[in-house]
Symmetry: C2
Subunit: 223 residues, 2 copies
DNA sequence: TGTACATCAGTGAACGCGCGTTCACTGATGTAC
DNA sequence: TGTACATCAGTGAACGCGCGTTCACTGATGTAC
């Protein structure tokens, strides 16, 4: 049975001895949602949890390590709560080619949509970008795994080579990521929502049109 | 005639009374080239010029103002020294459509190439991204103006509507920007140069293929 | 049941640091008469 | 030619701040006998 002990002077009462590590990550998500990475100081987070500044160090080797852990939590949030949902919702389409198209489109638009809806979390997301490890059996995968999955279907339907599929992977991620940054932090940041949405659709349309035609004339017109 | 006066104790001897403003911006470009935005503290830059920390304030209202000015200098560098050069070099192609293609391709690849070759400057570049102002007669235009110029030709050759051209603008910029970030700061940052180069070409090919086919079936397949 | 002891998650004072910015000032330069 | 004065680009001491990290510590909890 948990009893509120004396040292807990903070408003955050849902933390008690024993799970400070998780509490810090949770606080990081809460604080970083508004405020981004800049708000994730060691002192900021320990303060938010209601604990002395030094209490973080038995759980995290350094400030950077704490940030990276929170970044991974943000990636989970993006994947599980936003992209995965959109992709499974896009599953109800007739033809297999149409379904593959729809799922890839859903990935890109959800990636962008998450960034626009949660710019703070999106910024966290960008902190820990590892080199992509291909299809290990990880549970609740980060965004990149979901992209690979969407492309698998498209590659099978279109008869792509492995090289073509890898290239496509980076086209999709670049387009979605670049647009997300423009809409979030860049020159589109104060555009109205419907303009952002229109451009997002246009941009993703161009991407998919390009992928579709890449199976016929790839490696043509090289500079 | 300039004489080395007593207060100039720094190694940077090419600064004398009267152009401290330019000297600070120049130092910012030098220091930011390695080190990025994080290295552009007020004290860092005044130290680099060999001047007291407070000397910057008659010339810049705040730290932020100083950074924005340096960012604009980096944009000039990117446009003039890298992109403009590549685009004019791509001018020698036969058909008008082929030339428009080549110039757009040159823009994207030069944008990415600059980011990879000068990641510090590229980071500076991203600091001051204003909303794009359409074709005013500015001398030595920032990257966005050069993109518009490249698209003008392509739109004329392809018979695009204005809306299609605006959409294309953001497709190009998103793709180039997203890939540049992946190659610079993101998951591709420690990939070998030839892999970056291969993927850059593949990604730009996909983009251009998408733009080419967008004139026929745009606004089709909307989600 | 009661005492002795190890464990372990936290405290809180302190370290050294560097930041952006303010303020009153100084000393060389150029101009007017 | 020489003196008086305004201008102006700098100085340097100081302010308040908050950071990440270290260290020796404390006090509650669980276990052994």
């Amino acid at each position: 049975v948990h009893i509120l002990v004396g040292w807990s002077r903070s408003i955050v009462d849902d933390y008690h001895h024993g799970d400070l590590r998780s509490a810090l990550v949770l606080a990081g998500m809460e604080v970083g949602r508004r405020g981004g990475v800049a708000a994730l100081g060691v002192r900021d987070l320990t303060r938010a949890v209601g604990v002395s500044a030094t209490a973080a160090y038995p759980h995290f080797a350094s400030h950077r390590a704490l940030i990276l852990t929170i970044s991974e939590a943000a990636q989970q949030e993006m994947s599980r709560r936003s992209i995965l949902e959109a992709m499974t919702a896009a599953g109800s389409v007739a033809s297999p080619t149409g379904q593959a198209d729809a799922r890839l489109r859903a990935f890109c638009l959800a990636y962008i949509g998450f960034a626009v809806a949660e710019p703070g979390w999106f910024e966290l997301t960008c902190q820990a970008q590892k080199a992509p490890a291909h299809r290990d059996g990880r549970s609740s995968p980060p965004p990149h795994h979901l992209l690979l999955e969407a492309l698998d279907a498209l590659a099978a339907a279109g008869g792509w080579s492995l090289q073509q599929q890898i290239d496509a992977e980076w086209s999709c991620w670049s387009m979605a990521h670049g647009f997300a940054l423009h809409a979030t932090t860049g020159p589109l940041q104060s555009s109205p929502a419907d303009r952002k949405s229109h451009l997002a659709h246009a941009v993703v349309n161009t991407l998919i049109a390009g992928l579709r035609s890449s199976q016929s004339n790839s490696h043509a017109g090289v500079l």
